[in-house]
């Protein structure tokens, strides 16, 4: 980005929720088409967007669809026609859109969506679980978890930058834990428009634009002679996202916004000199960090790695980092029934990432905080103790459910 940024401009601070932060990012990104269909906790972002439109602060097509499936289809088509789009859902609403969700990356649509993480029915439940967003993990969606409103706002801007890069052209979902992030307000810095304009170039679909002046057919029916080549195309795009486009975007973000996220893919907290680390995603970082500070005071060398980007998954980088420790505890706010060792999704991915690594510490898996249940500081301490035991050579179960009544 060669553009000169007016540094004299100041960020404004506002007390907003994670959902509102994403709505503000939509305004700053000057999104053209937004579709909505209510479901808690995503619907909070929908309300804030409606308010911005009503107040004349955001000029966009705002369409309340008749279902999540249509909601995602509408923005898919708008994006194909060159519009910057935003969409989102939660829990079974996200699942109801599933057909649209599968075709969106396949068509190379750089949609940005917010998933307000919510447990999947039945029984009906509002609380956070990560299984809704994780359902698209194999399809070409980029998936990023954030843990506070500031990161939600910043990451939404980064998501547009990454998704709309022609080297990528894959959708990106920003996963926000229901309640803990979507419904709690925190002081958040809102950057001036000029900075955003310097960071985020206009969406240019190039020769893939659906327009009468550029007549193309998109995704005709194909047979076995064609599909493998298209899958390879998307595979390479995801690799470019991981190896080039995401790192570039974070570098530029730091330069323009003066706010650094360090390694784009994961946050390391008090890992220096640690014997063991915990790994997790989303807002469980709060109790984990509190517990770590307590334990550090007691001389227990424990750190935390909070994974942001689940897709693309930073396998080599993460494996190298985790290899520094004697044992690793992975906290899953999700489940994967019947999966290897009956673990969570994250633990399985971490183990897969470690397998080819030179140093492979034992991985102790935990299922915790399902359905929005609080992950408590004592929970974190208990998990840490087990990981310490594993580090000391005392084998631990591959998976343990924490915080369950028994």
């Amino acid at each position: 980005m060669a553009k000169v940024v007016e540094k004299a401009q100041q960020e404004k601070e506002a007390l907003i929720s994670g959902s509102e932060a994403i709505a503000v990012a939509c305004k700053l990104a000057d999104v053209d088409v937004i579709t909505a269909y209510p479901i808690r906790p995503y619907d909070t972002v929908m309300q804030y967007v409606a308010k911005l439109v009503a107040n004349g602060e955001l000029d966009c097509e705002y369409i309340v669809a008749e279902s999540e499936h249509s909601q995602f289809e509408i923005v898919k088509h708008a994006s194909a026609a060159g519009a910057r789009v935003f969409c989102g859902s939660s829990g079974v609403g996200w699942m109801y859109a599933f057909e649209a969700l599968t075709v969106t990356p396949a068509l190379r649509i750089p949609m940005v969506a917010m998933v307000g993480n919510r447990a999947l029915d039945d029984p009906g439940a509002f609380g956070v679980e990560h299984n809704d967003a994780l359902a698209v993990r194999d399809l070409g969606w980029q998936l990023v978890w954030v843990d506070n409103a500031q990161e939600a706002l910043d990451t939404a801007l980064i998501a547009y930058r990454v998704a709309e890069d022609r080297r990528v052209f894959l959708p990106c979902a920003i996963a926000c834990d229901g309640a803990f992030l979507t419904h709690s307000q925190a002081l958040t810095k809102i950057p001036p428009q000029e900075w955003v304009d310097a960071f985020l170039p206009p969406y240019n679909r190039g020769d893939l634009l659906l327009h009468p002046d550029n007549p193309i057919t998109v995704a005709p029916q194909v047979n076995e002679d064609w599909l493998m080549e298209l899958r390879k195309h998307n595979d390479e795009a995801m690799k470019r996202s991981k190896n080039a486009v995401i790192p570039e975007a974070y570098r530029d973000f730091e330069r323009i916004f003066n706010r650094s996220y360090g390694n784009p893919f994961f946050e390391e907290y008090q890992t220096e000199g640690a014997d063991i680390v915990l790994v997790g995603m989303g807002t469980l970082s709060m109790p984990v960090k509190v517990a770590i500070r307590q334990m550090r005071k007691e001389g227990k060398k424990v750190g935390f790695v909070r994974l942001r980007w689940f897709r693309p998954f930073p396998a080599e980088d993460l494996a190298e980092t985790l290899g520094r420790f004697k044992a690793v505890g992975v906290i899953d706010r999700d489940y994967s029934f019947g999966s290897p060792h009956f673990s969570g999704v994250l633990a399985t991915e971490v183990r897969a990432a470690l397998y080819p690594a030179a140093k492979r510490p034992p991985v102790v898996g935990f299922i915790c905080g399902l359905g929005g249940r609080e992950v408590t500081v004592p929970d974190v301490r208990r998990m840490s103790e087990m990981v310490f035991k594993a580090a000391g050579g005392e084998p631990q179960p591959l998976i343990t459910w924490i915080g369950i009544r028994e």
Binding site: D207, L208, P215, T217, V218, A219, E224, W226, H233, A237
Partner: protein
Amino acid sequence: MGRLFAVEIVYRGIFQKNLAKNISRGIALAAKHDGKVGISFGRYGDSPERNGIPAKNFAIVATDDETLQEGMAKYEPKEVDISISVDDTLCKGVESWAWYGLQPINRLLKPGGTLIVTTMHGADAIITMCHRKEFPYQLALLTSIPSFSGLWVYKDDHTDVRLLGAIAKVLPDLFSLTSVEKAIREEWHDELKVKSAQKAYERISTRVVSPAEGNPEKPYEFELPKWYELREGLAIPSIPAGKAMADPTTQQTGGFRPDRNPTFKKYATRTMRPVVDFDTCVKCTLCWLQCPDSCFDVTPDAFYDANMEACCGCGVCEAVCPVTNCITMVNETAFADNASQWEMWKKDKTGYQTWLQEKIQHKPERSHGFRIRGQYEQQIDTMVKDGIVDTGTSGETITEKVVTDVGEASAGG
């Protein structure tokens, strides 16, 4: 390793889907009675629910299970002992519903393999339609009209078992006539069908087709692109809009010829083609307007010329033409090429009228299913009279044995 046999049945989508299935099933069943093992399957990449689209069934037979696995390890056979064409117009070449290019009917035949064609024509007419092959092969003709044994209704005319009898004759190593008889009794419980198979066995004869015989044209084909040569999401450029065309006699340019997809021509779907009497055409535009494939070129003198590279032979133009006998659908076997009728007419109007009247004599026996109620019964009667198929000992005929078989449910799409 034992011996592996492969037979393909090339048929017209939907109209002959059950017929093809019956034949490939019959092969596997007859092989079983011959002490062999076999499987029967439809070519998965085809779209046999689409009207008239060329599609394939395969039967693979082996002398033992491990050899059969060698055949099953492939998506489809790369070479076959026998190709069966159950509609003689398929001999002009086969283009499936997707991008394959045009494939000669005899493309998969092994050296010395046999092409069996159901037809009312003689060998010379069939050979003219088939593309040349680099080595000699056998041609066997089974006298028959194209059987209409489709997805929803199975009008039995014994084509299935007659082909089984023919196979027993041309490739006795695969199975004997006795095995065919046993399979028919087991599968269909029908002595009349056994008799039809026996008769076909007795009558079928083959002749060698040399590499010098047949259509010398190279069928159109294209290179499949590398993955990095494709645009993201398989966005493909549209076909250009098209341009004016030239009058071969006056060199005057005008009119409009739409550009067409160079990798998917679809004309192998055609079993009949429209012939146009330009002397009576009133230029009403209806054929051009209603053609679902936009196959009509608009000529500089404002006639509508059905382009045979693009025509699927649906017959809508004939149906909508308001002028009596101006557009007539004629069986595809009457034509040797895809040349422009309008150009022929412009160059020699008298000669064209002679050509036109001669072609109209070839109006179809049957194509695209039945054209009138009771046509099936009429045709069976004719086939019995001509001695193509038999009556039973007590005078019973095939028509009393009509079976209704809705076949496999199909999701289509």
